[in-house]
């Protein structure tokens, strides 16, 4: 199963939307327009390859590195950028911020900044799908660091018992902040953990969009037909530091390693060269690049011009059914 021409163009557009959104956001953050962020640059093929295998009504949970997931699933950039600025028009009304760009309209039910915290939620979405008897699936993005949380083992087991339609998708960028997989995993091939819990597991090249798409597509297809969960480990690489503004007093990655991934394993350039088989396609992709640049610039303008949230509304969204709440003014 591979992407048709239209899907291929859409995949490129989504990767580029992540890349350009992140580049612009980092530059705006460095200029002091808002506080720090965790860039998804380097992860684009892993994220978009997985999302292209999903339907609009499928569920996703994500992580503190949260910008790529909604963009990969097709979200509007304006409310995402406005959220980084903490504005009232932000996707989370200024209550979530950079680590939590959850857009429910594209199926996201949480971007957890508690490492491993989203894994049970995705499992629960799978349970809900099974109880409601729909053919949706749930996909859980988590990192190599989260693989060492108890929630992964517990959740893989729960999903395996009942054959829940969940794809556990590890964005293995090889470092939990500064701690490498080799130093922190007794079994560094994370997909091998699946076997111990009774579900299939596989490792793919996370810089190769088609490889990721095909693996996730097969797992999704299996899950929709009642075949149960799959653990997919996508080997990827974070091009930037763990988060913007975090000092690196002692280097934990060599300059050669970073250069290697940036020059030889850039998922966006790799995919662009793989699809630009002739001048016609290249011209189409160049048009996509122009359109995405405009879209990102418009998102920044929208965010900058949006109003700040009103401090008097700080209790809004705390409860769906407030009962004599908010309490008497204590601010």
């Amino acid at each position: 199963m591979t992407l048709n021409a239209e899907q291929s163009k859409e995949a490129y557009r989504r990767m580029l939307r992540i890349r350009k959104f992140e580049e612009e956001a980092m530059s705006r953050a460095k200029a002091g327009e808002f506080s720090g962020m965790h860039s998804s640059i380097g992860h684009e093929a892993a994220i978009v390859g997985a999302c292209m295998a999903l339907r609009d009504d499928d569920y996703i949970t994500g992580t503190h590195r949260s910008h790529g997931h909604p963009i990969g699933k097709g979200a509007d950039l304006k409310p995402l950028m406005a959220e980084l600025y903490g504005k009232a028009t932000g996707i989370c009304k200024g209550r979530g911020g950079s680590m939590h760009l959850a857009d429910r309209r594209v199926g996201i039910i949480g971007e957890s900044a508690i490492v491993g915290g989203g894994i049970p939620l995705a499992t629960g979405a799978g349970l809900s799908i099974q109880v409601r008897k729909t053919d949706q699936v749930s996909l859980c993005f988590f990192g190599d660091g989260a693989a060492n949380q108890g929630t992964l083992g517990e959740s893989l087991n729960l999903a395996a018992i009942w054959k829940l339609p969940v794809i556990y998708f590890c964005e293995n960028n090889q470092y939990a902040i500064s701690t490498s997989v080799v130093k922190s995993h007794g079994q560094p091939q994370i997909s091998k953990r699946a076997e111990g819990y009774g579900l299939p597991g596989l490792t793919v090249d996370g810089q190769d969009l088609i490889a990721v798409y095909e693996a996730v597509h097969a797992a999704v297809d299996n899950a929709r037909r009642g075949g149960g969960p799959t653990l997919i480990e996508a080997k990827t690489y974070r091009f930037d530091e763990h988060c913007l503004g975090l000092q690196v007093p002692i280097p934990y990655r060599t300059a050669q390693e970073i250069d290697h991934f940036k020059s030889k394993c850039d998922p966006v350039s790799l995919y662009r060269s793989s699809i630009c088989s002739n001048d016609g396609v290249a011209a189409q992709m160049a048009a996509v690049e122009r359109e995405v640049s405009i879209e990102v610039a418009e998102a920044v303008t929208f965010a900058r011009e949006s109003p700040q949230p009103d401090p008097r509304d700080v209790f809004d969204y705390l409860y769906g059914n407030p009962i004599h709440y908010p309490p008497i003014a204590e601010l």
Binding site: G90, R95, G124, A125, L158, L318, I323
Partner: protein
């Protein structure tokens, strides 16, 4: 008050828990139950009516099966997660506090988390410190949760049903020392006790006794003993800990001028501490004497019955507290 024409049935506190869940599962297909050993203990009776699609017997993975319930709540179901013994809630507290309580707020209202977490205070039966906690106050410090602690079969049934119907996460604390208490309870499938409303269980004029969770029978016994000595005690059962029914407490204290708070949680930052603070801040002019707290001292729960039993609030300690401020 119960309508005398309404149909009633005698229920124990324990059966009220089962009946509330059964009625709500019959009423709403979205209600499911998740818990350990539920097919053998506690909810075995529900398996007569429902199958394993909606009754999920889970392995011992508190944090993840609780999170699984939250994920199901985010995607269209209304799960009940039974954490059994309240000391086990700590294992699930990351999911309760960092996900259930926060997701609605953190997403600007895009998500809602209609879920019930059940936890049973399981104390005074020689189970030592890791099975005996009454950790209500810990969770009162987490905005976004509602917390109820019913003390009678009718309140249990009505509050459990309200909790299941509520769109927010509700933590419901049960008390195993009340399991066998019986009373007539409405059979109306829409019999509800509202969240956020305290209940005056006994009228009085001389002192307000605010009772929390399983302390109700002891508070009532103390009030009866005081009556024989000519002291009229009003007993208010808080029933809901969050949101706190400040108005009922303040109104009673305005009448009596004296306040004793009975709470079986540990003393420091207890529910009693919060009630005392509310009255000190908002009802100080009504107070004729210092507020008294009757609580469990700040010590781990020991195994030996000789050591454990005297720790909890009892009738004598409540009466003594009242007498200190007469």
């Amino acid at each position: 008050m119960q309508n005398p024409l309404e149909s009633q049935r005698e229920l124990t506190y324990l059966n009220a828990i089962v009946e509330a869940q059964r009625e709500e599962m019959l009423r709403d297909d979205r209600v499911i139950l998740i818990g350990e050993n539920i097919d053998i203990y506690g909810c075995a009776a529900l398996f007569e009516t429902f199958d394993e699609r909606r009754l999920r017997n889970v392995p011992i993975s508190e944090n993840s099966f609780t999170g699984m319930g939250i994920g199901a709540a985010l995607t269209g179901l209304r799960p009940i997660v039974d954490l059994t013994i309240a000391s086990f809630v700590y294992l699930a507290s990351d999911q309760i506090i960092n996900q259930a309580a926060k997701l609605r707020y953190m997403t600007g209202g895009q998500l809602q988390v209609p879920i019930v977490f059940r936890a049973c205070a399981y104390y005074n039966i020689c189970n030592a410190a890791q099975h005996s906690d009454r950790p209500y106050p810990l969770f009162m410090n987490t905005p976004g949760l509602k917390i109820v602690a019913p003390a009678t079969p009718a309140d249990m049934k009505g509050l459990m049903k309200s909790a299941i119907r509520d769109d927010d996460p509700v933590l419901i604390f049960e008390d195993m020392n009340l399991w066998t208490k019986k009373e007539l309870v409405s059979t109306d499938p829409d019999f509800l006790v509202p969240i956020g409303k305290a209940d005056i269980k006994r009228q009085g004029n001389d002192v307000t006794i605010v009772s929390i969770a399983g302390c109700l029978p002891k508070s009532i016994a103390a009030a009866e003993a005081l009556e024989k000595e000519g002291v009229s005690a009003e007993v208010i059962d808080l029933r809901t800990l969050v949101p706190l029914d400040r108005e009922s407490i303040l109104r009673s204290v305005a009448k009596t001028g004296r306040l004793v708070i009975v709470d079986n949680s540990h003393r420091t930052n207890s529910v009693a501490s919060e009630v005392a603070a509310v009255v000190a801040e908002e009802g100080f002019p009504s107070l004729r004497h210092p507020i008294q707290r009757v609580t469990t001292p700040d010590v781990q729960i020991p195994y030996s019955s000789a050591l454990e039993k005297p720790l909890y609030p009892n009738g004598d300690r409540i009466v003594a507290a009242v007498k200190r401020i007469l």
